[in-house]
């Protein structure tokens, strides 16, 4: 981010940067920066709050009035992420006892996922499987958690991308089951701590670690602090 500010300025384009890590900005001196202590992943602060986003943009563009730089200011509001409570979001009841609970659950969330996709017009599911294939990804993670070697479990791609698809599917589905955008980290906490699929992904991750799978292929399946 800060490097890009220098690159674009050197090319003759003035920049204003929203920065999320203050010490980095202090070391790298982007010409005009607004430090926003908002959760990583939400640089404009509040989803669904156009007024707040305009406030951030207004403060950032105001830095263009500075006669010289670097200028580094701080947005007055802090939005916390730490210790997010899981979404209060109902999970579907068991429907097909012939398949693992997590697979049953993933299938049952399909309509909710589709409602969100229709409402937003976009999805980030699709790195190794589309929404129809997510329950198969979950089934593969169940096998890995049960001790099957990850290379033989039936994943159609790398496990990091597969875990991304499952998490994105659940987080997007959750938006159709709650009112308004979730608090920072709440949908992620719901996925990993409450849903059966999230717990299976973490179990598969632990199994891969124990089996000495390549570090990047299990570590990046979930946030670094997740166990």
């Amino acid at each position: 981010m800060c490097v890009l500010a220098h690159v674009f300025e050197a090319a003759g384009i003035a920049t204003v940067a929203l920065v999320s890590v203050l010490p980095v900005a202090e070391k790298m001196h982007p010409p005009r920066a607004l430090y926003c202590e908002f959760p990583l992943g939400r640089p404009l602060g509040r989803p669904g709050d156009a007024d707040f986003q305009h406030d951030v943009a207004r403060r950032a563009f105001a830095l263009l009035d500075a006669p010289e730089g670097p200028v580094l200011e701080t947005h007055p509001e802090v939005i916390e992420l730490d210790d997010a409570a899981p979404l209060s979001c109902a999970l579907p009841p068991r429907f097909d006892p012939s398949v693992p609970e997590a697979v049953d659950e993933a299938r049952a969330l399909r309509d909710a996922y589709e409602r969100t996709r229709t409402a937003t017009g976009r999805t980030s599911v699709g790195r190794v499987a589309d929404a129809d294939g997510v329950s198969d990804l979950v089934a593969a993670f169940v096998r890995i958690a049960d001790g099957v070697d990850w290379t033989q479990a039936g994943l159609p791609g790398d496990p990091v991308s597969a875990a991304h698809d499952v998490r994105a599917y659940y987080e997007e589905a959750s938006l159709a089951l709650v009112d308004g955008p979730p608090d920072p980290g709440a949908a992620e906490a719901w996925f990993y701590e409450v849903s059966a699929a999230g717990r299976v992904v973490l179990a598969a991750r632990r199994a891969m670690q124990a089996a000495q799978a390549p570090f990047p292929l299990w570590f990046y399946m979930a946030r670094a602090t997740r166990q």
Binding site: A5, A14, L18, S20, M28, L44, Q53
Partner: protein, 144 residues
């Protein structure tokens, strides 16, 4: 995560590049984000990708292609503008606060080699050239 990122080694830059901006009300403005966004069907980002993807002004069905699991994604899923404030720019243009919204915007994935050489000398300048050719005067940089 913020604490971890704060302690990552970064190149310390003494000087500050500086372009005198044109008045905001006359300026064509683009967004440059490091959120690894891309259009549907565009090349996906690799894990250490230092390249960029061009985002058309009118495109809204963007994909989050970041490899890091260490940030909130539900905000983006709920509202594109919390990462990529393209609708906010359109509103500012309609009010005359900014001159115009650029026809193209740019996304990077936030990856860089130890010396940040590729972004500084290769992909960054190439992306800047695209925006200059579009007549962009001011860039709003947004992280993830």
């Amino acid at each position: 995560m913020r604490e971890y990122a704060a302690n990552l080694p970064v190149p310390e830059i003494d000087g500050t590049s500086w372009t005198v901006p044109v008045p905001l009300g006359d300026a064509t403005v683009a967004i440059v984000t490091t959120a690894a966004l891309h259009e549907v069907g565009d090349e996906r980002y690799g894990p250490a990708d230092t390249g960029y993807r061009v985002l058309a002004r009118e495109t809204r069905d963007l994909v989050m292609g970041h490899w890091s699991p260490n940030f909130d994604r539900a905000g983006f899923a709920a509202d594109l503008d919390v990462v990529y404030p393209i609708d906010r720019l359109e509103e500012l243009a309609a009010r005359g606060v900014i001159g115009a919204v650029a026809p193209h915007h740019v996304a990077f994935a936030g990856n860089q080699d130890d010396t940040v050489t590729k972004v500084r000398l290769d992909s960054g300048p190439r992306a800047a050239r695209i925006l200059r050719d579009d007549g962009v005067d001011i860039v709003l940089l947004t992280p993830v």
